[in-house]
């Protein structure tokens, strides 16, 4: 559907900007949906509220990016159609966002890895020559600051906690580390708008990101994986793990059964 919408007239350089905006929106939407699975299931009430608050912030970011993408696409495109009517292979979120919520350690580690990345990314994006992306990012970075602080504290609490919580964090690192490489590997549409001077480029963020991770891990008595090994990629260009389809099956259910229904 999106391909048709895009081919209706936009110029090529806008296509990359649309893809990039959707990539940012999809990251936020999919992680929001994942975190919302904790609603009513958090380990304690305060943390249940915290993780779902983070979900809500991410959903707000996703809406802003989808609204902007809809304007760029033009025609009948809308934030709802972009979220609910696209198929799995049209989603451009990183693989990290779609991984199952796992136990509390997996959720915490993923949020920490992702918030550390998003914090640097949004700070950089706030200086973009694209004014709308810059405005969305400078607004969202304030929220992400709280997410990063909260998730760092939990990484430390669990890593430097009991033998059980430490072991679970070690497992979580083993499960998720292979999805971190993709964050800093630009997709073709990113490279293109980078060449146009719209964004600075994700690969420049990696060093600072690693420093953030390292500092928190060392306080948490957790080891940074030394074997960077084989990194999973593909999400940014629509090649996903099996988990995305299942998220969309739930997320898009109503719109698939009653297309364009409103309430």
């Amino acid at each position: 559907m999106l391909t048709t919408m895009i081919s209706n007239g936009s110029m090529l350089h806008t296509d990359s900007l649309i893809h990039y905006t959707l990539h940012l929106a999809d990251n936020a939407l999919i992680l929001s949906q994942r975190n919302s699975e904790w609603c009513g299931h958090g380990p304690v009430l305060e943390q249940d509220i915290a993780i779902t608050n983070i979900s809500l912030d991410l959903l707000g970011q996703a809406r802003n990016f989808y609204q902007y993408a809809a304007i760029l696409i033009g025609g009948t495109a809308s934030e709802d159609k972009l979220a609910y009517h696209r198929n799995e292979n049209e989603f451009k979120n990183c693989l990290l966002a779609e991984q199952p919520k796992g136990d509390w350690a997996v959720t915490i580690l993923r949020q920490f890895i992702f918030s550390a990345y998003q914090y640097l990314l949004y700070r950089q994006l706030a200086k973009s020559t694209d004014h709308q992306l810059a405005a969305i990012a400078s607004k969202a970075v304030k929220e992400v600051t709280y997410h990063l602080r909260w998730s760092s504290e939990w990484v430390i609490r669990l890593g430097d906690g009991t033998a059980e919580s430490h072991a679970r964090m070690v497992n979580a690192i083993q499960d998720l580390w292979m999805f971190t490489g993709e964050l800093f590997l630009p997709a073709p549409y990113e490279t293109e708008i980078q060449n146009q001077g719209i964004i600075t480029g994700v690969e420049k963020l990696q060093q600072e990101w690693i420093t953030t991770i390292e500092n928190t891990f060392s306080e948490a008595t957790l080891a940074l994986p030394t074997d960077t090994g084989w990194m999973q990629t593909g999400g940014k260009t629509g090649r996903h793990t099996e988990y995305l389809g299942r998220i969309l099956a739930e997320l898009q259910y109503m719109q698939r059964i009653y297309p364009n229904c409103e309430w």
Binding site: E46, Q47, I49, A50, N53, I54, L56, D57, L58, L59, G60, Q61, R63, N64, Y119, H131, Q132, A134, A135, I136, S138, K139, A140, K142, E143, T145, Y146, L148, R149, W150, S152, E153, I156, T216, E219
Partner: protein, 166 residues
Amino acid sequence: MDADTIQIKAAWKILEQVADPEVPVLTVIDLGIIRHIDIVEHRLQITITPTYTGCPAMDVMSMGIRMALLENGFKHIEIKQVLSPAWTTDWMSESGKQKLKAYGIAPPNTTQAVCTPQSFQQEESIQCPLCNSYHTQLISQFGSTACKALYKCDDCKEPFDYFKCH
């Protein structure tokens, strides 16, 4: 004063009646989300900025603004949302902060020095809105709504919400 200025003044006055649905003691003016009111080609244009990007109260407030203006005779109303410059708790009015405190919510500190990602930092001296003690502790950075954190007073032992700096 020309007719436009009179209308704009009247609109500001009307918006003083529109409350935040989640913190009903605050009006949209107290919150500082109304950035401009203009008359553009005979239409009343209200420019608002969201507090938190995902705050569900924004849609309700936007509707509340439209309803209040319609009830008071304005016909052509356009509500425009801008994201930049990003909303900050510094835009909350002084009377808004006092109303919050009277309502039992600690108002945001003006200093933004602690809005950083550093772990385990406490905001300086959040005063208990009930007994005025500064002997308080953070329970959770995330509270009952996007804009609040949960605190506890070590003196009067009451839990309370803090409208966190943003």
